[in-house]
């Protein structure tokens, strides 16, 4: 190749290259923004791990331990004699621990039916935008509850065994933080009870009073009013309910409904609650709620949490 041709080629190459380079030099910040390849994950879709009675998608961060004290009074319409429910108390005391940022384990004790409960909660998909886009956060929950009351198996039923005291909960929590102030969650849920009571029908057959496997669809949300204050609602629709025909007033079953106000102060989340249930395990508040919110069987309650960081996260120092 002779020299002038080479030069011509180089010239052409340079002419082609130049506009690209000038373009790249335009605005440094604009260039950074254009090239930023991050994925933003939704933070704090809810303030706490509990919406009202049930769960939120939130799990505890790695190495943090939460002490949660849940308390429900009696029904407000119990009147003066019970000081509008304040004379009664139903509690759950529990510890939640974050094994990783997405996996929590919990153990708790409920005064209703003297129930011990425990669960694993795993956040396996996170709402994100940016390079990776996903519209919702999904957490799976698997729990078991053991009724220690009554003390003797024979007190329940003739063929009642210890394993019959157990019930299980499987739940998917699907939530979206629409704005920094508004989050919505749906909760397909299943509760399995090892034991249910039976009745004898007019042909003499033994039939269960309720299904061992019960299904629910929950819906709930939170609206943040200020940085430290939000209101929550939670409702669970029973999908295969027992039915109330033939049952007396105190034995009729209702769907669980609750409203709450979250107040966050530093390491505490304080939730003030109005609900129609007093039980605090899924078995109790989903399948055994005998109070009708709209008839005034409303329980005042609160959840108080305190978080301790047991193991500090490594930040590279």
């Amino acid at each position: 190749m002779n020299l002038p041709v080479m030069k011509r080629i180089i010239t052409v190459l340079m002419l082609l290259g130049l506009p690209l380079l000038t373009l790249a030099q335009d605005d440094l910040l604009g260039e950074l923004e254009k090239n930023s390849k991050d994925t933003e994950y939704a933070v704090a879709t809810f303030k706490g791990t509990r919406l009202v009675n049930g769960h939120t998608v939130e799990t505890k961060g790695a190495g943090s331990l939460e002490f949660i004290f849940m308390h429900r009074f009696g029904a407000i319409n119990d009147g003066w004699y019970e000081l509008y429910g304040l004379d009664q108390a139903y509690v759950r005391l529990a510890l939640d621990y974050g094994i990783t940022d997405n996996l929590s384990v919990s153990i708790g004790r409920n005064s209703v039916d003297k129930t011990m409960d425990g669960y694993l909660k795993y956040k396996f998909l996170k709402q994100s935008s940016g390079v990776k886009n996903f519209p919702v956060t999904i957490t799976a929950l698997a729990g078991a509850a053991y009724k220690t009351s009554p003390k003797e198996n024979s007190q329940v039923n003739a063929d009642f065994q210890t394993v019959d005291r157990l019930s299980y909960t499987g739940q998917l929590l699907i939530a979206r933080k629409f704005t920094s102030n508004f989050s919505l969650q749906i909760m397909p849920t299943m509760v399995h009870k090892n034991f249910v009571f039976t009745f004898t029908d007019n042909q003499g057959g033994e039939l269960p009073k309720e299904s061992n496997d019960q299904f629910f669809l929950g819906i709930g949300g939170r609206l943040k009013l200020t940085k430290g204050l939000s209101i929550n609602t939670e409702y669970y629709q029973h999908l295969n309910p027992r039915g109330n025909s033939g049952y007396a007033d105190g034995d009729k079953l209702y769907n669980s409904l609750g409203f709450g106000i979250d107040i966050e102060t530093g390491g505490h989340v304080f939730q003030l609650i109005l609900t129609n249930t007093r039980g605090l395990t899924e078995r109790a508040f989903l399948t055994e709620t005998t109070d009708d919110f709209f008839a005034g069987d409303i329980h005042l309650g609160f959840n108080v949490t305190r978080t301790f960081q047991i193991k500090k996260k490594r930040t590279g120092e």
Partner: protein, 185 residues
């Protein structure tokens, strides 16, 4: 005559372009390693958070520099602190990024030793943009540069409010340390 002209043009053009281009090629530097540390000297406890995912470009010829910082990438030792930092103080859903855009005043591209310079420009945090003058150093470290700075940030300047009853352990002023290593683009 015409022929001669073309010949000389052919000689000049490449020369012209290479003159224009050669500095451009070596001019831009991109941060390959970055650390931003935020430190709050509190009454009850000290808080330290770290961000290693910031990006930056440095233009040697113009001494222009730009930084882009994603707020959610600040890592705290306590999960709850990180959540509060994003939700309550920085409102990172609304203001996901902080940035700086400006010039290194006092920078001499020929010098190879540590130089005292000032980053003069616009700093945007929490949606508030302020004119700032931040002293720091720059040093040539083959094949690129290293920039360091340490300065105080007043939370009030950027309308970051700390609810005092809630966290007594966050100071009104926090110390920010940056350490960026650049390589040629």
């Amino acid at each position: 005559m015409l022929h001669n002209n073309r010949r000389s043009m052919q000689k000049i053009l490449p020369l012209l372009f290479s003159l224009l281009m050669s500095p451009t090629l070596a001019q831009q530097y991109f941060a390959e390693k970055s650390i931003i540390v935020f430190f709050s000297d509190g009454v009850i406890e000290d808080i330290r958070a770290e961000n290693k995912k910031s990006t930056s470009i440095f233009d040697l010829g113009k001494a222009d520099v730009a930084f882009l910082v994603s707020i959610k990438d600040f890592q705290f030792p306590k999960t709850l602190m990180q959540v509060h930092f994003n939700e309550k103080y920085m409102e990172s859903d609304k203001y996901p990024k902080s940035s700086f855009k400006g010039k290194l005043v006092g920078f001499n591209p020929a010098a190879k030793s540590v130089q005292q310079v000032h980053a003069v420009g616009k700093l945007t945090i929490h949606g508030v943009t302020k004119d700032v003058d931040i002293p720091g150093t720059i040093e040539f470290k083959d094949p690129g540069y290293q920039m360091k700075a340490k300065f105080m940030l007043k939370l009030d300047d950027y309308k970051i409010t700390v609810p005092e009853i809630l966290w007594q352990n966050i100071a009104k002023e926090v110390e920010v340390t940056i350490d960026f290593t650049y390589r040629p683009l």
